[in-house]
Amino acid sequence: MAAPIDLDDVVKAEREARSRFVKRALVCTSTACVTAGALPVRDQISKTIHDAERPDICVVSTGCPGMCSRGPLVRVEERGDQTTIYTHVDEDGAGDIARDHLLTGKPVDNVPTMAPDLPFFTRQVRVVLETAGRIDPDRLEDYVGEGGYRALARVITEMAPEQVVEEILLSRLRGRGGAGYPTGRKWALLAEAEGDPKYLVANGDEGDPGAFMDRTIMDSDPHRVIEGMAIAAYATGATKGYAYVRAEYPLAIERMERAIRAAKRAKLLGRNVLGTTFSFDLEVRVGAGAFVCGEETALMASIEGRRGLPVLRPPYPTEKGLWGQPTMINNVETLANVPAILNHGHEWFANLGTETSSGTKVFALAGSLEDTGLIEVPMGITLRELVFDLAGGIANGREFKAAQTGGPSGGCIPARFLDTPVDYEHLRDLGSIMGSGGMVVMDDTVKMPEVARFYMEFCRDESCGKCAPCRVGTEKMYAFLDRICRGVGRARDLAHLESLCRTVRATSLCGLGQSAPNPVFSTLEHFRDEYLDLLVEEEEVNGATA
């Protein structure tokens, strides 16, 4: 049996290795940059450096630094903190960067660059994404070198499980999957639950279209999720964990699996973690394309290899979950917050963000923005800051119309609420939800009834069919919306739609159905005129269909 990893030795070795490099080229190899062609770029740079026999220059495949719209990104770091970030790099550009900048020290001027001090970067507070984009997600040593697994090592040797739960309670961390349930309270429930074994699940079934926070965390810094899970397991008494990842994220699956294998070899997972009596086994489970599996009871059915059908709660998973045993399900981003809370203390974390929503939130910015990608900001930042300061405003000189948050369960926030602080309570008061952090910004060319129809089509397709209100209701709501969007809807169609929305919300079995009407409610509340403009008079319809 191999000896457990010595964290101090690795940190020292990493620091020494780092001191030998005069230059480092960090190539983003997260999903978006790979799609834009980052792998040939990296290979071109690696080959040039290798052929030149320059061991003092290192090329690192990193996770996501965030600015996905300008990828592939190559960041060149030189001694003395000189940093250049090249954008939109292609293979030719990569050759130039390697030959001119890395080998001879002459910055390249025919490849676009961006300043490292753009508000997009400087306005962020990176806790969950602290090392994303700076380390190689496939190297355990990179994470350890940045202080990784230190929290786990300290927790399991110096703290009692109750103390860890207390620390999370005091940090006021809330679930990042959308509902915002206090994480510490959930941990306490599992810790108190009777039963053996107990299970822990990381929910990485990020099915909300337009959201890619969890995907990025898993493909850019998988060890942070693993460390968070191991700490949660120690605090709650769980001995077996599952990371449930949607199948649409092959890179996240691959990197999570590789990271788990590396952590097991280093004795950071498995039996007797770091030589202590604490044991925790972890494996990846892959979804197969079902939005409803983000709902925790459906997710558990899927882990058991069954159809992902939700069941009524209570009993809650912490009482009766996987195979009838106590089970806790935490979102990936929630778990990724845990190591930092243990490292810096609950006060530090609680002081970030607002009174009711502590800490930071990762947002996936997409849609009609100048710059899109992944950012992490303190809770309570305003929408205006997000859209106009960080993301550089609306693309193509158009006007801001609405920001959609919370995906198919959320709503659209119009321009007059741009100064609202973004936290759980304020977004709920506006008829939207925080959701998992997807934010799709729409310009004035987008028609809001069509947005509502788009989401209803999604919910109709994703309804699992178990309960009638959702199965039949989403179909009928879609039909009404479709009539209205096609310009053949009447006032009474709109009245029926609203009444049906209320019924489906009140009577559906799970969150999917209960929240499916939200995009309709919120677009009706803020953009009712657009619906009214599309309606036709009774006589017109009768005339047309006669």
Binding site: T35, P209, G210, Y249, A288, G289, F291, R306, G367
Partner: protein, 182 residues
Amino acid sequence: MAGPAEASARKRASDEPHPTGDERFSLIDKALRKARFQQDQLIEVLHAAQEVFGYLSDEVLLYVARALRLPRSRVYGVATFYHLFTREPLGEHSCSVCTGTACFVKGADAIIDALRREHGVGPGETTEDKRFSLTTTRCIGACSLAPLVVIDDDVLGHLTVEEAVKRVAAMLDAEPTPAEVP
């Protein structure tokens, strides 16, 4: 008692021909062994099976049901519940248009309409000559590059309608039809 399918999957030596007469089943056997024949790994095994065969035929579902000792109804139920499993063979080439929110805002519908006009098939359909399937996917999480289209296994971002149509045509032309192969 272990059924013959399970016994074969567990024990067969690597040089023996597969009892079904189709060597592709030995790749399912590999996935079954990796899953340690655990019934809760049904979804993982079906992913592997679809990877090998391209779709989940009755024969494949029966094989998996026997090997995992699961009721056939259960395997059929799972195979038909999840969107990523298909019970029909796809065409030789496929084009999957992302219809997530960001791609919707950036005009994914226009791409689907153009491909429909060009090839006469809608989402979920395959051309009569079995050369081309059009499908949709709900967000692959690279929203900054919207609209996105996956052509065979290549993910292409920032596509205009014209480019999408052109890329699909190029894909279909790239491979010589069987008649042209010497």
